[in-house]
Structures are given as C-alpha cells and as structure tokens.
C-alpha cells in the first residue's frame, strides 16, 4: 500500500480543502499535473475561439469588397484573434507543458511554490474571462466626431485597436468606449499570471533538481523553459508599466502617448516591442524544447550537439532583447537605429540556424520512426525554416519597408508561430499523451490530423507571402477588386477551413483515445528522459523516491549500453529494472508528503477582475470587493501552515 501522509485537515484558522476527486479537488489543487491539465484545456478552449475568429476573418476576405463582416466587427475580430492566440492560447499551452513536465523532467515532486502555481493558473483564467467579458459589457464606436452607418457590431463590442494597441489609435479619443480598457487591463492581469509562473519556474529549475541533475544534464525542454521564464521575468514588467500608462491615458486624462499633451506615441511602440519581441521567443522556445525531446527519441539517437542547442537557446533569448525595433523599421526611427537593429536581427538568425542544423544532425543517420509526434516535429523543422528565412528578409531594412504591415509579415509569423510553435505543441501533445492519460492515441487519426494540417497550413499561409508582396496590407477589412488579390485570398480561406477540419480530427482522436485507447504502459516510446521512468498516468507523487541522475538522457542509459561500434545494446537487466521501476513507482516505499490543496489561490485571483471593472466603471464598491478578496486570499495564504509545519506536528504527535 502507498503511504501518503494525509495533510492535516484542520488548521488554526481555516478548514483545509479535503476533496480528492470532483470539481473541488480541481479548484483547490496545487498539484502541478492537475494545474498543467487545466492550463491545457483552458488554452485549447481559447485556441478554438481564436480559431473561430480567424475563420470569420477569412470568410470576410474570401472575395474582394466583401460585406460579411462590418468594419467594426472585422477590426474587433483580428484584434481578439491576435490577443487570444498569443496570450490565451499559445502561452498557456506552453505553460501547460511547463507545469506538467518540468517537475517530472528534473525529478522533483512539485514546483518550488505549488500554491503560487495555482495562483498563476487562476489569475490566467480570471484574466481570460475578464478580457472576454468585453463581448457582454464592453462598448466601442467611431472615433470622437466620426459617424457610423449602422450598429457597431452584431457580435458584441470587443477591443478593436489591434493586439499591439498602437497609440494614439487605441487611446480614448480614437477608440472610445470601454472595449480597449478591457484589453489593457485584461493583458495586465494575464501578465501577472505569467510573471508569477516565471519566478516559480526559475526557482524550480534552479532549486528543485534531483540528485545528480546538474544543469548540463537537464533535458532541453527544461532548458527552454528556463530561458522562457527569464524572458517573461524581464520583459513583462515593461509592458505592465506601458499598459498602466494606457489605462491612465484612457481613464484619468493623462497624455503619455498623446501628442496633444506632449506625449509620444512612438514611445509606446518601443515599450510594447521591448516586451513584444521577447514575447515571440516566449512563444517559440517551448516548441524548440519539445522538438528537441521528440526528435532524439524517435531517431533512437542522442540529440546532436546538446550544449550547442542549449547555448543557442539562451543566445536567442538574450539577443531577443536587442532586436525589438525591427518591428518599427517603417516607424519614425533614425537610419542609425534602423541599421543597428537590422544587424542585430540578422545576428539572431545564427543561433536559430545552429538549432536547425543540430536537429538535422540528430535525425541524420538515425532510425526514424515516423509516427504522429515525429511527423509534427519534422513538419515543425520544415515550416519553421520557411518562417525563419522570411524573417531574414525582414532584417534587410529597405526590403522590410516594403513588406512590413503586409500579408508577407502575416505569412512570416504564422509560419513561425503556427508552423513553428503550434506544430511543436501538437508534437508534444501526442508525445506525452500516453504519459498523461496512460492510454495511447490513435495513430491513424493522428496521421490524418498531421497531413490535413500541413496541407491546410501551407494553403493558408503560403499564398500570403505572395499576397503581401502584391500589396495586400494587414488588418484590411476589404480590398479593392482592381488589386487582383481575390484568387489567392480565396485559396487562403479554403486552407483555413482545412485547418479547422484537422483540428476536429485532433479533438475526435483526443476524446476517443483518452477513453478507449489501448493501455500505453509507462515507456511506450523507449524514451530517453526520466519522466518516462515512472508509471503512466503519472501518480500524484511523481517519483516514489527521488531518482539519482548520472548522465544526460539518464533513463536511456539505464536501458542501453553502447557496443564498440557506438550502437546501442540493451542492457541485460534492463527489463527487470523497468519492471522494478514500475513496481516501485506505483508502491512507494517511503513516506510521501504532498503539498496541501488550498482555497486561497483562487480567492486571491478572483479579486483581480473586480479591480479591473472598478477601474473601468469607476465604481468604488467593486474596488472594495476586489481588494477584500485579495486581502482574504493573502491573509488566508499567509496564515495557512506550511507543509513543514505539518511535518513537525506529525513528528511530535
């Protein structure tokens, strides 16, 4: 029998949550795995919404001078599509991976601060709900003094200043109503969530590593999480302050970004992209990590140039802070700045190239098992290379002044963020599916998903390069028939629906396989990293005792030796060892203390949207309510005894 020490149910002040199943167990959980799963589902839900928004955009653009959406609706849709996909879909899906895998990969029992982890999840949820509540409560209209022919929007009013919120267009004068306030404050709340998790992950990686897990033995995914956390920790404060300024401008009549009052709209661009460019790497680095796990596993070869890949990842993260103004080449910046940022942007292609070549080196000479996760990873390389190369054309500043703000850029960053990040994420979702659910996904459906998606993806975003070069600007509600852009736009729209179809296949596979899939066993892939050395689905306590890591790809080296030819030979006792591991994984031999569930993260987080509404509607009672919830949350949190105190009590008893 397992010996889990039950947390003490009664503390000094508040009753501890005690449900182990059912909805309350999820609401009060501090288990990184449950939080990871919740992150995943929530993010996927928002991914679907963002996808539907994209489809609406594509219907509108399918033919020239179309009238399917009004200008206001179109603008709201592209703003929300961008905001949703970045802040509510890809970032939290990455967070889902971080949460679930990070402690497993470094052999820890949980993250460094489990309650803080729950807090960031709930802040994310409340931030997302707050942002989307704009469809119910928000208002938007024509700029002050402007006229509209009809009602603003049949969909409810959503932010319409673009996900980048360029000032002064997103200011109160040109975007009146409350919708843009929802955007500014919503992002602020979501930023807090990411910031908190960044502290948590950095600390976890540094301090929760198991015995022998030196930094240079960590899996690449862990390394990329580490890099991403730094990017978050150092870039989010900048946007937080910039969003403060926006909120002040919109609510309290300041003029930080308004020229009339001496403000500077270009300063917003600097602050936004100081955050916004690291953000790009925040979105893509997790996928780099995932791919670096999948490729070696299914090539049956170690990762080629592990140190190079790690350093390149940090190189990208570091240089990523120094290239922000390449988003502003057409903006009011000097030629010197253009040249400088053009060069720094070129430089970032080097570590990215190093990664790509190392991945190619990994599969070269391997024994490639072309199953779904591997296909997505290979597809990732192929698509990301295209995105990377079009990225290099942006660093050629004069050429970029032709391409910027056109569909060429849209094509570029979808190749990077969809062909890159999303392909990597899907690869990861299939790869770790058996670890999370203990079941195997359906390979045939998985392959259909892949082929539909790669065809749909290229149909959608490939022609966009051409459209951009032919002069189709971004964020364009209609385009004139005379511009001769209709044909390719139609193809693009068809492609978008093929992607939608592929997502349906994915969902069917997921739902079906999670219930009816065959049992996966704990190491279905003959994998390399230690998260596969524990049973699937992962037991609540992860490792029944702290593993001791002796090398990079420790789990592989437990199973395989190398012969004189350098080829792997299965160790003699490997099967027995695995059986032993599984047995022990399910039946821990020592006492296990798990972090206690808590009500307070969700209570604390629930205060933030009320503060947001209070700022927008200038309602004091809401502000008091919000503050009260935050105070109750923090007080309860602070007075809730820690696990160590339980331990002491138990020992005393």
């Amino acid at each position: 029998m397992t010996k889990i020490i039950e947390p003490k149910k009664q503390s000094n002040i508040f009753k501890r949550p005690s449900s182990e199943t059912g909805i309350w167990s999820w609401i009060t959980t501090v288990d990184h795995k449950k939080i990871g799963i919740m992150y995943g589902y929530a993010a996927f839900f928002f991914l679907l919404i963002g996808g539907i928004e994209a489809l609406l955009l594509r219907i509108q653009l399918a033919s020239p001078d179309n009238n399917f959406l009004s200008a206001a609706e179109y603008n709201a849709m592209f703003t929300m599509h961008g905001t949703t996909m970045i802040f509510l879909a890809i970032m939290p899906i990455s967070a889902a991976f971080f949460n679930y895998l990070l402690p497993l990969q470094i052999g820890a029992r949980d993250v460094a601060f489990p309650r803080l982890n729950a807090l960031s999840f709930w802040i994310f949820i409340f931030g997302g709900v707050f942002l989307y509540s704009t469809f119910l409560f928000g208002t938007a209209g024509a700029p002050q003094g402007g006229y509209l022919a009809e009602e603003v929007s049949r969909l409810g009013s959503a932010p319409n200043g673009g996900w980048f919120g360029y000032q002064p267009n997103a200011g109160f004068k040109y975007s009146p109503g409350t919708a843009m306030d929802y955007w500014a404050i919503g992002l602020q709340i979501l930023g807090i969530a990411s910031l908190v998790s960044a502290f948590n992950f950095i600390t976890t990686i540094l301090n929760m590593r198991t015995k022998g897990m030196r930094l240079m033995r960590m899996p690449v995914f862990t390394w990329m999480t580490f890099a991403v956390s730094f990017l978050l920790a150092f870039s989010l404060p900048i946007i937080a302050i910039a969003l403060f300024y926006v909120t002040f401008d919109r609510q309290f009549g300041t003029t930080f970004f308004l020229t009339e009052g001496g403000g500077d709209p270009i300063l917003w661009q600097h602050l936004f992209w100081l955050f916004g460019h690291p953000e790009v790497y925040i979105l893509i680095l997790p996928a780099f990590g995932i791919v670096s796990e999948v490729l070696p596993t299914f090539s049956r070869k170690p990762l080629f140039g592990y140190p190079a890949i790690v350093f390149a990842g940090f190189g990208i993260a570091f240089i990523g802070f120094g290239v922000w103004a390449h988003h502003m080449f057409a903006s009011a910046i000097s030629p010197v700045a253009q040249a400088g940022f053009g060069l720094s942007t070129m430089v970032i292609a080097v570590p990215t190239g190093v990664k790509i070549f190392n991945w190619l080196g990994t599969i070269w000479g391997g024994k490639l098992k072309l199953n779904t996760p591997m296909l997505f990873s290979l597809g990732f390389i192929g698509m990301f290379v295209i995105g990377g190369l079009s990225g290099v054309t942006h660093s050629i500043v004069p050429a970029d002044t032709q391409q910027t703000d056109t569909y060429y850029v849209v094509a570029h960053f979808h190749y990077v963020l969809f062909g890159g990040a999303m392909f990597g994420i899907f690869s990861g979702l299939y790869y770790w599916f058996p670890k999370v659910w203990g079941k195997m996904y359906n390979e045939a459906l998985g392959k259909i998903h892949f082929w539909l998606m790669i065809i749909g993806f290229n149909l959608t975003f490939g022609p966009m390069h051409w459209l951009g070069l032919q002069g189709q600007v971004r964020r364009t509600w209609v385009y004139a028939e005379e511009t001769n852009l209709g044909f390719w736009n139609l193809i693009v729209s068809i492609g978008a629906f093929i992607i939608a179809l592929s997502i349906l296949v994915f969902m069917a596979n997921w739902i079906y396989s999670k219930r009816k899939g065959p049992e996966a066993g704990f190491d279905p892939w003959d994998a390399r990293t230690i998260e596969w050395s524990i049973p699937s689905p992962t037991p609540v306590w992860n490792f029944s005792k702290a593993p001791e890591v002796k090398s990079l790809d420790d789990f592989w080296h437990m199973k395989y030796d190398e012969d004189e030819d350098g080829r792997p030979v299965r160790k003699e006792g490997a099967d027995a060892l695995l059986a032993e591991l599984e047995e022990e994984g399910l039946n821990p031999s020592e006492e296990i203390v798990l972090p206690n569930p808590s009500y307070f993260p969700i209570i604390l987080a629930s205060g933030l949207p009320f503060l947001g509404y209070a700022v927008i509607y200038k309602m004091l009672p809401l502000a008091i309510l919000g503050t009260l919830l935050i105070l109750i949350g923090s007080f309860g949190w602070g007075t809730e005894p820690l696990e160590e105190e339980f331990m002491e009590d138990l020992e005393n008893e």
Partner: protein, 335 residues
C-alpha cells in the same frame, strides 16, 4: 490523368496563371523608380540566398526522412553526440552570408534616407482616412491624388493629424509612418508618366482598409500645366439657373463649408478638417481614393458617407436627390 481532363481543373489552372500574370497595382515587386528598384535588388539578392538555404535544409530534411526511415532491417544507429567542427562550420557560414548581405543593406538604408539634391518638397498629412498633400513651393493644397513630375526626386515631409498612418506607394518606395507631432521623410521618384496606387499601411481605425491614394507622375510640361491650373481659383461666377449654380447654393447652405474649402468661394483659404475641393473634378478618385470620381459613386457617397467609409467624419447631411444631383453638377465644374 483523368483528373487533368476535367474542365474545372482547367478553369482553375487558367485562373491560377491569369492571377499571376495580371497586373496588381500595389505590386511591390515591379518597381517603377530608382528607390523602389534599389530595394527590389536587395530583396532578390536575399531571396535567392534564402532559396539556396531553403533547398539545402529541406533537401536534407526530406532526404533524412526517406533514407533513414525505420525499416525492418535497419539496425539501431550509432550514438553520435555531436561534432565540434560541424558546429563551428554552421555557425560561421551563416555569419559570413549575413555579413555579405549586411553591407549592401546598411548602404541602402542610408542611401534611402538621404535627402536628394533639388528635390521637390511636398508635405503629406495623414487624416483619418485620407492623405492631404501640400506643395509649399507652389502654394497648392490637394488631397488623395499626389501629382509628381517624372524622373525627378520628390521629398515627402510627412506627419499625421490624428493617429499613426503609413504612407506606401509600393512601386516607388517602401513605407514610412506618419506620426502626430513628429516629421518623417520619404523619397519618391518615378521613371515615366504613370498612375500608381498608394495605400495606408498602418492600422488606423475603422476605415483603414479604405485609406488609399493615387500617385500620378507627369512629364515636365504636363506637370507645369497642372501646377498652373491648381494655383488658379475655380470659377466664381456660374451661369445663373444652371444646375451647377444650384449645386453651389447647396454647397454653401447645406453645411459643407464647415469642413471643406473651395478656394475663392464663400470663405478665405485655410485649413479645414476635410479635403480641399478647389480642383475636385480633376481628381480621378475621392473619399480617400476608395471610390472612382464619377456621378454614381458621388451619389452613393453623398447619400450616406458612413456607409462607404465607416467612422468617417463626414456626416450624412440628409440631402435630397435633387440637391445631390445639383451638388454633383457643381463639383463637376471644379476643374
């Protein structure tokens, strides 16, 4: 092969080819002036290098997938952990390639930014959602259609009246922002007399997509004639009882003068928030170049401007059909 015999495929193929050949007026790949050409050359240089890299990387990828695919007979591969020589090689080669591109890039950046000698200065002012042009040397104010002499550099001094805009004539040069409170500059030069399309690149609110423009380059003599005409005032005296005269009354009484100026009519010259209409009939387009200048379009526009350009600052003046017709007749006289 049956597939290719079907008519639909043929039709699609035809449309495909047609769409590639047909001229796109905003095409950034068919430069018509030295500035755009220098950008174009740089783009193609980078493009072909990128194609080279693309072919190598995708080739290696596809080769690996087919050649190293798991087969029943395939043994477990050698465990290779890396190769320092290769790492250095694929770090240095991209560096060298990029350095090679960097040199012309930096040179072109500064070439494009330099103010050309004896350039014609034109001020471009962005409004939601149209471009205003001023020729300080000639005292001309116009809108939507920028007229430039051929084969002569033009220096645009640009700013915005409200939000950020982005001035773009793809065949003549790249984009440059129009920023409130700051001046930005852009050089244009066209090889020959031609009409070019312009478009606002930066998202600037509801009707961003309809913030378009035309740039017309003219021979030197045509340009001189155009300048002379623009400098003159429109006819003040219109034949009484003509439709145009009625239209002038509508113009004066319906509220148009709140925002528009027709030099020499009713009020003094001056800046107003809406386009200067003094030589309206000479412009091929109106309403931020979203519409061609013809009576049908004018009727639609005057009946309800916000229908055409959502968010527009031109109100619906509730004109009757008769008033609209008169107004159109009057606008037609503004040559």
């Amino acid at each position: 092969m049956k597939l290719f015999k079907s008519k639909k495929i043929f039709l699609l193929g035809f449309i495909f080819i047609a769409s590639c050949i047909e001229d796109a007026p905003l095409d950034s790949l068919s430069p018509a002036g030295p500035y755009a050409r220098s950008i174009d050359e740089l783009f193609w240089l980078t493009f072909w290098i990128a194609v080279g890299v693309f072919v190598i990387v995708q080739g290696a990828l596809l080769f690996s997938v087919f050649y190293f695919k798991e087969r029943e007979s395939s043994p477990d591969p050698k465990q290779i952990h890396g190769n320092n020589f290769l790492e250095i090689l694929w770090t240095i080669i991209p560096v060298l390639i990029l350095a090679a591109i960097a040199v012309p890039t930096v040179k072109t950046i500064f070439d494009l930014a330099r103010e050309p000698e004896d350039a014609l200065k034109i001020e471009v002012i962005g409004h939601q959602w149209w471009f205003e042009y001023k020729y300080p040397d000639f005292g001309i104010t116009t809108a939507n259609v920028l007229v430039i002499p051929e084969d002569q550099p033009v220096r645009l001094e640009m700013w915005s009246n409200d939000v950020l805009h982005n001035y773009w004539v793809p065949k003549l040069n790249g984009k440059r922002y129009l920023v409130p409170g700051q001046t930005t500059y852009l050089n244009l030069q066209a090889d020959s007399p031609e009409e070019f399309w312009a478009q606002c690149g930066e998202y600037c609110g509801l009707s961003h997509s309809k913030m378009r423009g035309r740039v017309i380059s003219m021979t030197e003599s045509d340009f001189a004639a155009w300048v002379a005409n623009e400098q003159s005032y429109a006819e003040k005296e219109l034949p009484e009882s003509s439709l145009a005269a009625e239209g002038q009354l509508v113009y004066l009484n319906a509220g148009c003068t709140q925002c528009h100026v027709i030099d020499g009519v009713w009020d003094v010259q001056g800046d107003r928030i809406a386009p200067n209409l003094t030589h309206f009939a000479n412009r091929s387009v109106f309403a931020g170049a979203a519409l061609k200048n013809n009576p049908e379009n004018l009727t639609k526009w005057l009946a309800n401007p916000a229908e055409i350009k959502p968010g527009t600052f031109m109100p619906n003046l509730e004109l009757t059909e008769k008033e609209i017709n008169a107004l159109i007749a009057y606008l037609g006289t503004l040559k």
